[in-house]
Amino acid sequence: MTMEGFCFRKLDVDGALAEAVDRAGAITRGSFLAGALGVSAAAAVADEAVAQDGKLGKVDQGILNYALTLEYLQAAFYTEAERMKAIKGDVRKAARKLGSVERAHVKAFQDVLGRNAVGRPTFDFQGVTEKPRPFLKTAVAFEDLAVAAYGGQAANLKAASAVAAAVSIYSVEARHAAWMRYLFGLNPAAKAFDQPKTKSQITQIVRSTNFIAAPPKTKRKRAPSFTG
C-alpha cells in the first residue's frame, strides 16, 4: 500500500461528500481546538512519521486535525451567514461559495483522518453573521488567519502527498482572503510575503474571539488511539 491511501482518493468511493456537506451545519460532533493542539503536541514528541503500512503518521494527524478545527470554524461561520439571509448581493454569493468550499475541506480532512478526526466544537458567532460589515470584517480575519495557520504548518507535514494536498488548500485559503479583502475594500495582497503564525498564536487569537462556545459533546465514535 502506498501513500495514496491517504491522498484523498477514498473520497470518491462512496460519494459521502454530499452527505457530510448536509451535516455540516449541525455543529455537534467531536473535539475542540485545545484538544487538537494537545494531540499534536503529544504527536510531535513521539515524532513518528508515516507508518510503514502507508497510513498517516501521528505528526501529520496532529497537523491535519488542527487544520480541520480551523475549517470547522470557517465552515460553520459561512453556513450560518448563508442561513441568516441578512447578507445580499456579491457578498452573499461569496459567502455561499466559501461555505461550500470550507465544508468540502472539512469533509476531506474528516475522511483522511477517519476515526482519528477531531470533532466539531459548538460555535457562537455573536451576531457577526447577521450584518454585512461585521460579517465581511470577520471573514477577512478568518481567511487571513487560515493563511497564517497553513503557512505555519505546511512544511511540518511529513508525507509528500500531505504536503502537496495542504499546499493546494493553502492557496485556496489565500484566494479567499484576497477575495474578502477586495469586497471589504482592503488591499488584497498587502505584502510581498505572508507571515506565518504558530499554533499557539492562532489558538490564542481564536480563543480571544469567544466564537467557540463549547467543546464537542462527544468524540467521533471512539477516542483517537494516540490520546491515551
Binding site: 501513500m3 495514496e4 491522498c7 484523498f8 476531506a108 504536503v163 484576497a178 495582497a189
Partner: protein, 199 residues
C-alpha cells in the same frame, strides 16, 4: 440544505484533483513515503530544479508587470494592481535568486505581444499568469525540503492573493474550487511559452 447540481460537479472536480495531487504533484518515489528532510545530493538537485522553475515563473510575472507599468496603458484599479504586484514579484525574484545562489538560472527573454497594450488584454493575461504561478508552486511544494518550503510558503499564498485579486477586478470567480490543481514542470514550461516566455 439542498445541494445544487453545480455543487456536485464542483465536488466531483475536487475528488479528481485530489487524486491528481496524489499522482503527479511530487515524484513517484516521494509519494511512497516520507518527504526527504536530509540534505542529500539528489534532493538538492530536485530542490534546485523546483526553485529554478519557480524563479522562471517569477521572472515571467515580474517582466510582464514591469512592461505593463512602463507602457502606461492601464488605469484605475488595474494600474494600481499592476504597480503593486510588479514590486512584489520583484521581491519574489530576489528571494528565489538568494535561495538558489550561484545555481539560479538567468533571466530569459519574453515577448508579451499586445497583452500589456490594453486593460482587457492585460487583465486576461495577468489572471492566466497568476493562476499558473499558483499551480506551479502546488506542483513543486513536495519537492522542497522542510526549511525551503517554510520560506517558500510565505510567497505561495501571495501568488494566490494576486490571482484572486485580478479575478475580482475583472469579475471572474476569485476562487472556484476547493483545491488549486497542481501543474507539472513540463506543463508549466509549455504554459509559460504560451504566455510570453521566449528564452
Amino acid at each position: 440544505m439542498h445541494e445544487s447540481t453545480q455543487g456536485k460537479i464542483q465536488r466531483a472536480g475536487f475528488l479528481r484533483r485530489a487524486a491528481l495531487i496524489a499522482g503527479s504533484a511530487a515524484g513517484a518515489s516521494l509519494l511512497l513515503g516520507e518527504r526527504p528532510t536530509e540534505p542529500a545530493e539528489a534532493q538538492g538537485a530536485a530542490e534546485k530544479r523546483a526553485l529554478n522553475l519557480a524563479l522562471l515563473v517569477e521572472y515571467t510575472e515580474a517582466s510582464f508587470y514591469a512592461e505593463a507599468v512602463r507602457r502606461k496603458k492601464l488605469q484605475g484599479e488595474l494600474r494600481a494592481f499592476a504597480e503593486q504586484v510588479s514590486a512584489q514579484e520583484d521581491e519574489h525574484v530576489k528571494f528565489l535568486k538568494g535561495a538558489l545562489g550561484s545555481s539560479a538560472r538567468s533571466k530569459p527573454a519574453f515577448d508579451f505581444g499586445d497583452a500589456t497594450a490594453s486593460g482587457d488584454a492585460f487583465a486576461n493575461r495577468a489572471a492566466e499568469i497568476e493562476d499558473l504561478a499558483v499551480a506551479a508552486y502546488a506542483g513543486q511544494a513536495a519537492n522542497l525540503s522542510k526549511a525551503t518550503l517554510e520560506a517558500a510558503a510565505t510567497l505561495i499564498s501571495v501568488e494566490a492573493r494576486h490571482a484572486a485579486w485580478i479575478r475580482s477586478i475583472v469579475g471572474r470567480p476569485p476562487a472556484n474550487d476547493p483545491t488549486d490543481a497542481p501543474r507539472s514542470a513540463d506543463q508549466v514550461m509549455s504554459d509559460l511559452k504560451r504566455l510570453g516566455l521566449k528564452g
